[in-house]
């Protein structure tokens, strides 16, 4: 069959044009504007004056900025790998169930994921409430006194990480379950015929074959958790925001509350660079690990 190359290219261009246009208007253009804004002292609305690298020198000396970077990475550490491993573990257990039992258990684990963040916040804030929270009973039993979990800086991020895992784990379970189902049962049969125990089966069959899903979950989690904002913002409301400040929260405070658009954009650029660097790094590492 003879193909008309020009016509094909034209058709392709027309088909991708809407996406390219939307992408350019809603992503590329604002990104360029954001970078440009980071070199100005612009307020939230309106033009600012060009001040060169002043925002950047200010940022590197800013104690709040340093805290927010450290906290963001700390939160990533607390959530990404635990959330992935817990997701895998639960998925493997759910996978052993059959029929309606599996559906019910899966639904139970998935349920928190469909809740909006504000509801998650309300539930857990009441659970840990100093006066009336049900969690204060075990806490009082273990530590001899009530603990204001979300008002104690050392406990704040671990507690929010715990709530986040409870909330988002269901989605990872679903991804892992899909991955586990794609592993052919014959492999396990063959392995058990060769006298391979459960642990051997896991390390030699399940883990390598599920690796692409694990890599996907890790990447999604990493990007998601670097952008952590909602939960931290809600749980800290009114309290000591500074010791547990994360990057997006600092951008929000700076740009929207204090109306320092230029400086807010500068921190946003820093976060942008960090996310790109981390994603590329992780992707490279995971691919190398997968190809071995």
């Amino acid at each position: 069959m003879i193909k008309n190359r020009t016509a094909e290219v034209t058709a392709a261009l027309i088909l991708v044009a809407p996406f390219v246009l939307i992408y350019a208007v809603l992503f590329i253009y604002p990104t360029i504007q954001m970078v440009a804004m980071s070199f100005t002292n612009a307020p939230l609305i309106g033009e600012g004056e060009w001040i060169g690298l002043k925002n950047y020198t200010k940022m590197f000396a800013d104690r709040r900025f340093q805290t927010s970077v450290i906290n963001t990475f700390y939160f990533v550490l607390l959530t990404v790998v635990p959330n992935t491993l817990i997701g895998l573990g639960i998925a493997m257990m759910v996978n052993r169930l059959k029929g309606w039992q599996q559906s019910i258990i899966l639904a139970l684990f998935f349920l928190p994921y469909i809740l909006p963040v504000s509801v998650v916040f309300r539930i857990w804030n009441w659970m840990f409430d100093m006066q009336f929270g049900v969690m204060q009973f075990p806490i009082e039993f273990l530590f001899g006194q009530r603990v204001p979990v979300f008002r104690t800086p050392a406990l704040f991020l671990p507690a929010v990480a715990f709530v986040t895992i409870w909330w988002t784990c269901g989605f990872n379970i679903l991804l892992f379950l899909a991955g586990l189902r794609s592993i052919s049962p014959e492999m396990y049969e063959a392995a058990s015929l060769d006298n391979a125990g459960r642990w051997k089966q896991f390390t030699r069959i399940t883990w390598p074959l599920i690796w692409p899903v694990t890599a996907l979950v890790l990447t999604i989690q990493l990007i998601l958790q670097l952008k952590i904002f909602d939960q931290v913002y809600l749980f800290v409301q009114g309290g000591r925001a500074d010791p547990s400040m994360v990057m997006v929260q600092y951008i929000y405070t700076t740009a929207f509350q204090k109306s320092q658009g230029g400086y807010g954009a500068t921190i946003a650029v820093a976060l942008f660079v960090i996310i790109i660097a981390m994603s590329v790094l992780q992707f490279t590492v995971l691919r190398a690990r997968g190809e071995k």
């Binding site: 939230l44 609305i45 309106g46 405070t253 509350q257 204090k258």
Partner: protein, 426 residues
């Protein structure tokens, strides 16, 4: 088909005629009033539309309170998409003016609907001006008050014959009273919302002003001996918590529940919770007699933190308001002020003097009892860093909350707070 055509033509003709005859002004209105406030404001707006619907119609939208509201107000005014009138906390005016979000309210505007400065409490009127220019018209004064359980105070001998608390003035007296109430079987003498900076700021600012302390003056935060006064004010609350007379690290709803369940004999909170207790009492679910008075005088003289819901006209860039529309907006503002008795049901004190002095308001209890605080109200410092949902509120959360809950030494906390805020002055 023909009839349909005719009908369409007649309708069009009618519409043209009516629009010529009426020249009705539509006033687009934004507010941030939820809960009981929202219900009452909707009733007021409905009443206005019913009364004036032929000439002016309010089209109201309620938006999210706090930073989201003020961000939207600012961004929409900058591109000429803001409303014709909106509610605004007067403590937030400095930031609004600095971002050119607000339109100045002139003497002619006021005169056109017969509003006068003398109709408002001087401090309140003063707080609606930035750099000598008027930007808002106050609608109410809201503040914090002392709610009390009459049964418990009576048992502790702290209730006068007039049904009002006695012997609560002075730091030591108040603390002794709390101890008495605790000894009398209450878990706490007073319940406070100790887990968040906003509530603590309101108590702190009252106590600071009772000592004539200045939080911010001439570009300096807590300059000179104001620092010592601020530490003293913080220490008062820290001492209650330390001795178990007030609950530590308690969230807002829990602080109310401690009072309504009778576990705390008194409660310090905003006037906006008055409807909560009124409704509970009316339903017979409270289980005790309650009352509310202005905050006691802990130091030299009475003073209470206060803020106002006010009305502002946004400075919609590139969209000039016609004189007729402006007049209509002023009519709306004036009407709301003159009908603010209904708003007082939400606990707020009407800003408009004639309403505050009216016999109807004087009969409204406990509102009339605590309304004396309007005369000694201390409004937030005039700074773009102060006001609702501002860096000052954040700083209160960062330093005062740990200080009152015994996690930080008050002296250290207030010094850190001063340095932090001072560094943000640009």
């Amino acid at each position: 088909m023909k009839t349909l055509m005719k009908l369409a033509m007649v309708t069009t003709a009618l519409m043209t005629i009516s629009s010529v005859v009426q020249a009705k002004e539509t006033v687009v209105w934004w507010d941030f009033l939820g809960g009981g406030d929202g219900v009452r404001m909707k009733a007021l707006i409905d009443e206005f539309n019913k009364e004036n619907g032929d000439n002016i119609e309010i089209q109201a939208t309620t938006l999210e309170w706090g930073t989201p509201f003020y961000t939207k107000a600012q961004t929409s005014a900058a591109v000429g998409e803001g409303p014709d009138v909106m509610t605004y906390h007067i403590s937030r005016l400095p930031l609004g003016v600095s971002t050119n979000t607000l339109s100045e309210i002139t003497a002619d505007d006021l005169a056109s609907v017969g509003l006068k400065a003398e109709d408002y409490a001087p401090a309140n009127w003063q707080a609606t001006q930035v750099d000598g220019k008027q930007y808002a018209i106050p609608f109410d004064i809201h503040s914090i008050i002392l709610y009390y359980n009459k049964d418990k105070l009576k048992a502790a001998g702290l209730l006068g014959d007039d049904g009002l608390p006695k012997g609560l003035d002075g730091v030591d007296n108040f603390k002794a009273a709390l101890q008495k109430l605790k000894d009398g079987g209450s878990q706490y003498g007073v319940s406070i919302h100790s887990a968040a900076g906003d509530s603590q700021w309101r108590i702190f600012y009252s106590l600071l002003n009772q000592q004539d302390g200045k939080f911010f003056a001439d570009g300096k935060f807590l300059d000179g001996d104001n620092l010592d006064k601020a530490v003293k004010a913080t220490q008062v609350v820290a001492d209650w918590v330390k001795d178990g007379l007030a609950p530590s690290n308690t969230e807002y709803p829990a602080s109310i529940a401690l009072f309504t369940s009778g576990e705390a004999a008194m409660h310090i909170n905003g006037v906006w919770e008055v409807p909560t207790f009124t409704d509970l009492a009316a339903k017979g679910q409270l289980g005790f007699e309650w009352g509310a008075v202005a905050l006691p005088t802990f130091f030299d003289h009475p003073a209470t933190w206060a803020d106002s819901h006010s009305f502002v006209i946004p400075n919609n860039v590139g969209k000039d308001m016609t004189p007729e529309k402006r007049k209509a907006v002023m009519e709306v503002i004036a009407w709301m002020n003159k009908h603010s008795l209904a708003w007082a049901g939400a606990g707020h004190i009407p800003a408009y003097g004639p309403v505050r002095d009216s016999a109807e308001f004087k009969a409204l209890q406990p509102n009339a009892t605590y309304s004396v605080l309007a005369d000694t109200a201390a409004f937030d410092p005039v700074s773009t860093l102060a006001g609702v949902a501002s860096p000052v509120y954040d700083a209160a959360g960062n330093y005062m909350v740990p200080a009152i809950n015994g996690e930080m030494d008050p002296q250290q906390a207030i010094e850190d707070l001063r340095d932090d805020l001072q560094a943000q002055v640009e």
